[in-house]
Amino acid sequence: MSKLLVWYGELTTSRNLSKRGLMFLSPGMLWLLIFLVLPGLVLILVSFAGRGAYGELVWEFNLENYKRLTGFGIFGWTSDYLMIVWRSVWVAFVTTALSVALSYPLCFFIAGRPERTRYLWLTLVIIPFWTNMVIRTYAWFLILAPELPFAKLAAFLDFIPAGSPLYPNAFAVYLGMVSMFLPFVTLPLYSSVERLDWELVEAAQDLYASRVRVFMQAILPQTLPGLSVGVILTFVPAMGMFVVPDLLGGAKYMLVGNLIQQQFGASRDWAFGAAISMGLMVLTMFSLYLYRRRSKGVDFV
């Protein structure tokens, strides 16, 4: 029944071929099914469960967790959780925008170096990319410490009481986030800037295009592939970031990541934690969907 065929020089049957193919696929795919897909499905189920008196799961279908997330509690409607979700999206957006704004000059600068030093500069961007995020985040404690000029200046301008550090607050979160994600934009963007056709840019300048138009019509379209990879690599993880707001924002500037961590840590409310994770998942899917619609055929890795 199974047809004989020649597959890249091998005389075989399609049944034989798919049997061998399955042998190769199954270890890795089974692993991903058991430890990724299945836990994901369980997480969805758990988000509809309840919490017992001692933090255990109560398997009783209800929508309480989602109601709580959207603000409908026992004491009427509050916007607390929705505010945190909205803030996460906003922080991710601002982080991405600032990272893009800082990445363009940096990419132009690196691309303009002579070949011998160019790789050195590029390596200097790659190193923070791979440095542990806990270290890169807490390092800001030192820069923002009360003994250093930045906190002194802020105290002088009456933003903070004298002798106190410049964290935890929203400003510190933005600092930490941008420095965390900047290389995520710069590296993919650089691969596009390196291939940029500068003759097009010069042509636009020769035709008296304004600086804004040169950027919008000669540079942006050419760098869009790298830019869109950088944007998605920043925006999605930034929404779920938990180390930076935990260390630099504290209780004053909580994001979704902290809220999830709280449910799996101190509050021990897995069901609610699962529901928040689902909310974050929906936001992720939505941004990926927008990304796919805007830029077809751009690959991640």
Binding site: W7, Y8, G9, E10, S18, G21, F24, L25, S26, P27, G28, M29, W31, L32, F35, L36, L38, P39, G40, L43, L102, P105, L106, F108, F109, G112, Y119, T123, L124, P128, T131, N132, V134, I135, Y138, A139, F141, L142, I143, E147, S179, L182, P183, R211, F215, I219, V236, M239, G240, F242, L247, G257, I260, Q261, W270, A274, S277, L288, F300, V301
Partner: protein, 263 residues
């Protein structure tokens, strides 16, 4: 718009400073002779020497290494086999799309969601198997789960760029399936496998979130240790530890760069 306009150069230098200022501060205060505060009191290497007599830090370093090595080895094997299975067989378009989707999941979803899913799954598994207590085993499983996807993607892109002419020629010369794999495909694939493995290793060293959610009291890694320590307050010893981690990262990055650029 000139690409080496002084304004662009100035902004670029400032941005680099913004990236490196915090890290430099950590390195500077790791050799500062005072224990409290951030006032310069002279040069010392005491904090580095004290690191090596700190039992907790040595254990954490050992855990980090065991976690990274074990998970990388397993993930590299699984990922490589998976990549061959995906690329070298005539799967239907639908199967390919599904496989591709599953493979991209760990890459695109925020790691905190994977961590939450693993906590819940391990919690339920614990009811049946007591081995899934929070600890090194759970951490290794968690790390492999995201590493496999990255290894498979890297190896697969190498498989695609290799093409199939050499393998077809070997078949025409009567190479058996296992001979072809051992003597043709795997040797050609080796640079891709090494690159994928190194990526997996760095990802494991770099990971905080998955470890934080799945770790137990006896399986503290260096990032977890640093996180817990800085929440209590920063000390020069933590700066020294972080500086060492940073140095290891720099050596790894420069090493990988050197290796991949020669090709």
């Amino acid at each position: 718009m000139n690409r080496s306009h002084p304004l662009i150069t100035a902004l670029a230098i400032l941005t680099m400073g913004f990236l490196y200022l915090p890290l430099l501060a950590v390195a500077v205060f790791s050799v500062n002779a005072t224990k409290y505060g951030l006032v310069w009191k002279g040069f010392t290497l005491d904090w580095y020497i004290k690191l090596f007599s700190n039992e907790l830090i040595l254990t954490a370093a050992w855990n980090t290494l065991v976690l990274a090595v074990v998970s990388t080895l397993i993930a590299t094997v699984l990922g490589t086999v998976l990549a061959i299975g995906m690329d070298r067989f005539p799967w239907s378009k639908r199967t390919n799309t599904t496989l591709d989707l599953i493979l991209h999941l760990p890459v695109v979803i925020p790691d905190i969601i994977l961590a939450a899913a693993l906590v819940v799954a391990f919690g339920l598994l614990r009811i049946v198997f007591s081995a899934f207590e929070p600890g090194l085993l759970n951490m290794i499983i968690g790390h492999i789960t995201f590493q496999v996807a990255f290894v498979a993607l890297v190896v697969r892109s190498r498989l695609v760029s290799l093409g199939r002419e050499v393998e077809e020629a070997a078949r025409d010369l009567f190479a058996s399936t296992s001979y072809l794999l051992r003597r043709v495909t795997l040797p050609l694939l080796l640079p891709g496998i090494v690159a994928g493995g190194m990526l997996a290793f760095t990802l494991s060293l770099d990971d905080f979130v998955i470890s934080f959610f799945t770790a137990g009291p006896d399986s503290v890694t260096l990032p977890l240790y640093i996180f817990a320590a800085v929440r209590r307050g920063v000390t020069p010893q933590i700066h020294a530890l972080s500086t060492l981690v940073l140095l290891v990262t720099i050596i790894l990055v420069v090493g990988v760069e050197r290796m991949t650029r020669k090709k």
